[in-house]
C-alpha cells in the first residue's frame, strides 16, 4: 500500500518534471534564437535573453539531474555490484540509496537556507527575484531525496545503467 502510494506520487512527479523540462528547454532555445535574430537583423541584441536562457538552463539541468535518480541514468561503475551475489548487491544498492538520500536532503536544506539568505536580491538584467534561480537547488535536492527514498522502499530489481534515449 505504502509502496504503491510512493510510486504513484513519483510517477506524478516525473510527469510534472517532464512537462517543466520541455517548457523550460523550449523557452531557453527561443530566447537564444530571439537574441541571434535581433542582433543579426537589427543590430540590437536584447539584454534579457541570456539571463532568461540561463535561468531555464539551471532549472532544466537540475530537474533532470534529480530525474536521473529515478531513471538510473547517471553514469557509474557497477563492476563491484556485478560481481557480488544478488543479496549483497541489493544491500550495497541500499547503501547507495541511503547515501543519495542523504545528499538530496543536505542539498534541499542547504539550498533552502541559500535561497532564504539571498531572497531580497534580484537578477542583473531582468531584475527577477533571485530566489527564482536559487530555488532550483532545494527543489533538486528534495526530488533527489524523494526518488532515492522510493528506490529504498520499493527495492526494484537491479539492472544495468539504462542507455540514453539516443541509442534507441
Amino acid at each position: 500500500m505504502v509502496k504503491r502510494s510512493i510510486t504513484r506520487v513519483s510517477d506524478g512527479l516525473v510527469r510534472l518534471v517532464n512537462v517543466c523540462v520541455v517548457l523550460l528547454a523550449s523557452v531557453m532555445l527561443a530566447a537564444i534564437g530571439w537574441q541571434v535574430t535581433l542582433r543579426y537583423l537589427f543590430n540590437r541584441p536584447p539584454s534579457w535573453t541570456e539571463e532568461l536562457a540561463l535561468l531555464c538552463f539551471t532549472w532544466t539541468m537540475l530537474l533532470m539531474m534529480a530525474l536521473g535518480v529515478r531513471q538510473a541514468f547517471h553514469a557509474r561503475i557497477d563492476l563491484l555490484l556485478d560481481r557480488l551475489p544478488a543479496p549483497w548487491a541489493q544491500r550495497l544498492e541500499n547503501v547507495i540509496g541511503l547515501l543519495t538520500l542523504f545528499f538530496g536532503g543536505y542539498l534541499a536544506l542547504g539550498g533552502w537556507r541559500y535561497m532564504a539568505e539571498t531572497a531580497t536580491s534580484t537578477s542583473a538584467a531582468i531584475a527577477y527575484p533571485i530566489y527564482m534561480l536559487h530555488g532550483a537547488a532545494p527543489v533538486c535536492g528534495a526530488l533527489v531525496a524523494w526518488f532515492a527514498l522510493e528506490l529504498l522502499v520499493t527495492q526494484p530489481q537491479r539492472q544495468d545503467t539504462p542507455l540514453p534515449e539516443l541509442a534507441k
Binding site: T58, L62, M65, G68, A75, R76, E93, T100, L163
Partner: protein
C-alpha cells in the same frame, strides 16, 4: 594529508568503486568535507547553481538537441546517402561510408553519443546485412562516433574551454587536424580489415547517383556550413550556433523532410535534455569540489610535486596520457576533465605547454576514453544498437583504439597538429 584531501581523494575513489553514480560520489565527497571542516552548507547549492550559470555551457543541450533533431528529421540518413556514393566502392566500403558520414555529422552535432547513435543506428544493421561481422560493425560505428569531440563544434572543447578559460573557437580549430587524421587512421584500419577478410566491394556510384544523393542531402550538407561558417565569420558564438543548428534541423525535419511532427518534439527534447543532464550534473556538482581543491591547493601541490620529480616535458606528457587512458577505464571522461582540470592546467603551465595544444591533447584523450573498454560511453550506445555483449565489441574495437592512440601521440608530440589553423581564429 589533511582531512579535506582525504575525503576528496580516497573518499571519492571509495564511493566510485562502491558504485555510487559519479555525480553523487563527487557531491558526497564535498558534503563530507563541509561537515568535517564546518563550512556552511550553502556552499553546495551556491556552487551547484554557479556551475550551470555559464553561457558557454548552455551550448551543451543545444548541441545534443541538434543531434536528436537531425536524426529524427532524417538528416543523418541523407548524410549517409551522400557518403555512400563517394566511398562505397573502396575496399571495405561500408566502413568508409560510416567514417565519412560520422565526420560530417560531427561537424553539426558536437556530441559523440549522438553521432554514434545517429550513424550507428543506420550503419550497424546495414553492415551486418551485407556480411560484415556484427562486432566489427559496432566497433567501427563507435570509433567513428568518437570523432565528434575532435571535429568542431565539440561539446568536450566547450567544457575544456570553460575549465581552462581559453577561447572555445580556437579550441574547436585545434581539433580539426587530429580529428581528420584520426578519421584517416580508421580508414586504414578498415582497408586492412577488408583486405584480410576479403569483404565485398560495392559498385562505384554513377554520376546520376552522385547527383541524386548530393541533391537529396543538400540540406544536411548545408548545416555544417551554417554552424561553422557562422562561428568563424563572427556571426554567432558557439552557443548561439548550437541554437541555430537546432532551429535549422527542426525546420528541415518539419517542412522539408517532413519526418518530424510537432507532437514528436517533447520526446526529442526530453531525450536531449536527459543526455545533457548526465554531463551537466557532473560539471555542476564539481563546482564545490573545485572550490575545496583550490582552498587546499591540491592541484598546485600535485603539479609542483610532479614538476620537481619529472624534468622532461615529453615524459610528463606521456605519463599524463597513460594516466588519462587508465583513469578513463574506471571514471567518466567528463568527470576526469572537470575534477582533474585544475591540476592538469597547472601541469601544462609548469611545463610551458601551449594551452590550446594542451586542450587538444586532453580532448583527444576524452575521445579515446569514450570508445575504450570497459566503460567507454559510446561503446554502450553501440552495444544498445547491435545487442552485442561488451566482450564482443571490446575485442573488435582494439585495433581502432590502437590507431587512435597513434593519433594521440602525434597530437601530443607534434604541436603543429593542433595549432595548424590557429591564425584563422
Amino acid at each position: 594529508m589533511s582531512i579535506t584531501a582525504w575525503f576528496l581523494t580516497v573518499g571519492f575513489a571509495a564511493l566510485m568503486v562502491l558504485g555510487v553514480p559519479f555525480v553523487f560520489a563527487i557531491g558526497l565527497s564535498v558534503v563530507a568535507v563541509l561537515i568535517a571542516v564546518d563550512i556552511p552548507d550553502i556552499l553546495l547549492p551556491q556552487t551547484l547553481i554557479g556551475g550551470t550559470q555559464s553561457f558557454s555551457l548552455l551550448g551543451i543541450p543545444f548541441f545534443m538537441l541538434a543531434g536528436e533533431l537531425m536524426t529524427a528529421g532524417g538528416l543523418s540518413r541523407r548524410l549517409i546517402g551522400v557518403a555512400d556514393v563517394f566511398v562505397r566502392h573502396l575496399p571495405g566500403g561500408m566502413g568508409h561510408v560510416t567514417i565519412l558520414a560520422a565526420v560530417i555529422f560531427a561537424a553539426i552535432s558536437g556530441s559523440a553519443p549522438a553521432t554514434t547513435a545517429a550513424i550507428g543506428a543506420i550503419m550497424i544493421p546495414a553492415m551486418i546485412e551485407r556480411g560484415y561481422d556484427a562486432g566489427y560493425a559496432t566497433a567501427l560505428s563507435v570509433s567513428a562516433g568518437v570523432l565528434a569531440p575532435l571535429i568542431p563544434p565539440s561539446i568536450a572543447f566547450v567544457i575544456w574551454g570553460v575549465i581552462a578559460e581559453q577561447s572555445i573557437a580556437k579550441l574547436f580549430l585545434s581539433g580539426v587536424v587530429p580529428g581528420l587524421v584520426m578519421a584517416a587512421a580508421l580508414v586504414v584500419v578498415v582497408a586492412l580489415r577488408a583486405k584480410r577478410d576479403q569483404l565485398p566491394r560495392l559498385p562505384r556510384a554513377s554520376w546520376s547517383e552522385i547527383r541524386t544523393a548530393v541533391n537529396d542531402g543538400k540540406w544536411a550538407l548545408l548545416a555544417p556550413l551554417i554552424v561553422l561558417g557562422g562561428i568563424y565569420a563572427g556571426v554567432f558564438t558557439p552557443t548561439e550556433a548550437a541554437a541555430v543548428a537546432c532551429f535549422y534541423s527542426l525546420a528541415v525535419g518539419l517542412w522539408i523532410e517532413r519526418r518530424i511532427r510537432w507532437s514528436d518534439l517533447p520526446r526529442i527534447i526530453l531525450a536531449a535534455m536527459k543526455i545533457s543532464a548526465i554531463v551537466m550534473a557532473i560539471i555542476a556538482v564539481s563546482g564545490g569540489f573545485g572550490v575545496l581543491v583550490a582552498q587546499e591547493q591540491l592541484a598546485t601541490k600535485m603539479a609542483t610535486f610532479l614538476g620537481d620529480n619529472i624534468q622532461q616535458k615529453w615524459v610528463m606528457l606521456l605519463l599524463l596520457n597513460v594516466a588519462f587512458f587508465l583513469l578513463a577505464a574506471v571514471m567518466d571522461e567528463i568527470a576526469i576533465m572537470v575534477i582533474l582540470g585544475p591540476m592538469l592546467i597547472a601541469i601544462g603551465n609548469k611545463f610551458g605547454i601551449d594551452p590550446i595544444h594542451f586542450g587538444a591533447i586532453i580532448v583527444t584523450n576524452v575521445s579515446i576514453g569514450m570508445a575504450a573498454p570497459p566503460i567507454g560511453y559510446c561503446l554502450f550506445v553501440g552495444m544498445a544498437i547491435s545487442g552485442l555483449s561488451l566482450a564482443r565489441v571490446a575485442k573488435a574495437i582494439w585495433p581502432m583504439v590502437l590507431a587512435m592512440l597513434v593519433v594521440l601521440m602525434l597530437t601530443t608530440y607534434v604541436p603543429g597538429f593542433s595549432l595548424a589553423f590557429q591564425k584563422a581564429a
